[in-house]
Amino acid sequence: MEYIITILTFTGITLIGVLGSYMVTGLTGLFSFGQAAFFSVGAYTAAVLVKDFATPFPLAVVAAMSAGLVAGMIVGYPTVRLRRDYISLVTFGFGEAIIALLNNSTNLTGGAMGLSGIPRYTSFWVVWLSVAVCLTIVAGYKYSKYGRQCLALRSDELAAKAMGINVNRVKLVTFLFAAAMTSYAGVLYAFYTTYVEPGSFGWIVSAEWIIIVFVGGINSLTGSVFATFLLTGLPEMLRFASEWRIAIYCVIVLLIINFRPVGIFGEFELSYKWLRQLGKKGAKAA
């Protein structure tokens, strides 16, 4: 039971990270390989503040999210104006730079040895409450002018500009929002595991989140949630083939790309309306 709770808690934290990737990649079509770096920015900021400066936890959370915003601004501002390939290259570089920075400010972060002895302030309930809040907010974002503008510029940037959409601004807002949310997920992580190290937030983590979004269905929030369970659960299921785990995972993704390119859920969203229709159909059938 203990074990399952732990797994579910980690799944919840991953899910918040995936939601960030969903916003940046799924909605807006930008490939950010820096999401995991924002995760570590949040984790380290809060951990150092609480541990070394005795900052109250809620204040540390706010500081961590602000740090994520600042980092997002530094990376995002120069790049959103450019062709979208730049954002994937620059965020990749950002990820590497953050790891180098964490490794080399040993006094503050413990360097490559990691930072241990962080108090355990988060629990299963805190994490899943956060997930619920984040999901609601992201869903609200998707079904607002912001979400529509994101989808529009993902599909055709030039046409979006011609419709009066301030493309750069919408991209930056989305990128920053995701950065702040991912930093928050980082805080949850640090104060759950009580230990963080620079090596665990490489580009592979960001890439995995993007893959999860994609496998779930590039437009579908429901798909992202489902795929998070599936793909964080999958490694557990494949434990018997531990070495080959990632290889199998990759092959599955390749099969999906080639043979079911819309992802599992396509653009489908689970909604109250859909459930009601399903109920009606069921009643008819009966």
Binding site: T25, G29, F31, I74, V75, P78, T79, R81, L82, R83, D85, Y86, S88, L89, V90, F92, G93, F94, E96, A97, A100, L101, N103, N104, E157, L158, G202, W203, I204, A207, I210, I211, F214, I218, E243, W244, I246, A247, C250, V251, V253, L254, I257, N258, P261
Partner: protein, 296 residues
């Protein structure tokens, strides 16, 4: 800055140029950032190691070094072919959006890295010592032999590539395709063949780069992450320009050597990143100054 440092920087830059150009070739044709290129470098670097151990029974010195490079380059070409067939051919024929190329390339990158981890485990390997001599004196400047070889072989590889691109029929086809895929197809060009040729060329460059990286940094499964050097060089040079990528790479090499001696190797990537961002703010089109714009 001493001439010594400058030489070091230029030779490091020449290896970065191999990475950046391998990346830029594919970018030019398919218009997406090929993250699998890092995996290609890792895989070929290990294959090169295996080859060097195999050939060391009969060869030594320069011939051994040459045999290693050629095997890695050949392996790179084969990996390029497999990559194109497995990850991109179907997507391309489906006319899928760029997003799919991205996903496919990251997945292939992770897959190749993982295959290396499975077969070679996470231990560090290093190439055998190819030469007795480690330092040569050139115009009263001491230069490490490996640096000199890197410079010579990388520039040769790049020269050959430029010759192929600008003096041969297939090179012309590659340039035409990078300009406009649809028109090239309408002109009766077999785009599958040209794309394949591009992946082969990129693979060969990846193979040579892989060996040099292996010699420089020892071998480990995450070696491919050094592709970030290629990215930074491309961004500085101007995305989509091959000559820009070369110039950007040499600049990056010199910059890095200078920074390492000034602030230390660990923190240097942070400064490089900041410089790149500043560059993007001031001159977003890069040195080459081409801007790839969507057509209205």
């Amino acid at each position: 800055m001493s001439i010594q440092q400058l030489l070091n920087g230029v030779s490091l830059g020449s290896v970065y140029a191999l990475i950046a150009v391998g990346f830029a070739l594919v970018f030019n044709i398919l218009k997406f950032s090929n993250f699998a290129h890092g995996g290609v470098m890792t895989l070929t670097a290990y294959i090169g190691l295996a080859a060097s151990l195999f050939f060391s029974r009969w060869l030594s010195g320069l011939p051994l070094f040459g045999a290693t490079l050629v095997s890695a380059a050949l392996a790179g070409a084969i990996v390029g072919i497999v990559l194109e067939r497995m990850a991109f051919r179907r997507i391309r024929n489906n006319n899928s959006p760029v997003i799919y190329y991205f996903i496919s390339s990251i997945t292939m990158g992770i897959l190749m890295e993982n295959i290396v981890t499975i077969f070679a485990s996470s231990t560090f390997y290093s190439y055998p010592k190819f030469f007795e001599l480690s330092v040569v004196e050139l115009f009263h400047v001491n230069i490490a032999l490996t640096d000199l070889l890197m410079l010579v072989f990388s520039s040769t590889a790049l020269m050959i590539l430029l010759w192929v691109l600008y003096r041969t029929k297939i090179g012309l086809a590659i340039r035409a395709l990078s300009f406009d895929v649809n028109t090239a197809n309408l002109m009766g060009m077999d785009s599958n063949r040209v794309v394949m040729a591009t992946f082969i060329a990129a693979g060969i460059l990846g193979g040579v780069a892989g060996v040099f990286l292996g010699i420089n940094y020892t071998l480990y499964p995450q070696l491919g992450q050094l592709i970030v050097k290629g990215f930074i060089a491309s961004v500085i040079g101007g995305l989509g320009s091959i000559t820009g990528a070369m110039i950007g790479a040499v600049l990056l090499g010199v910059l890095e050597v200078t920074l390492i001696s000034a602030v230390g190797a660990g923190i240097a990537p942070v400064f490089v990143f900041i410089i790149m961002l500043t560059f993007l703010l001031v001159r977003p089109r890069g040195i080459a100054g081409v801007i790839v714009q969507e057509k209205a």
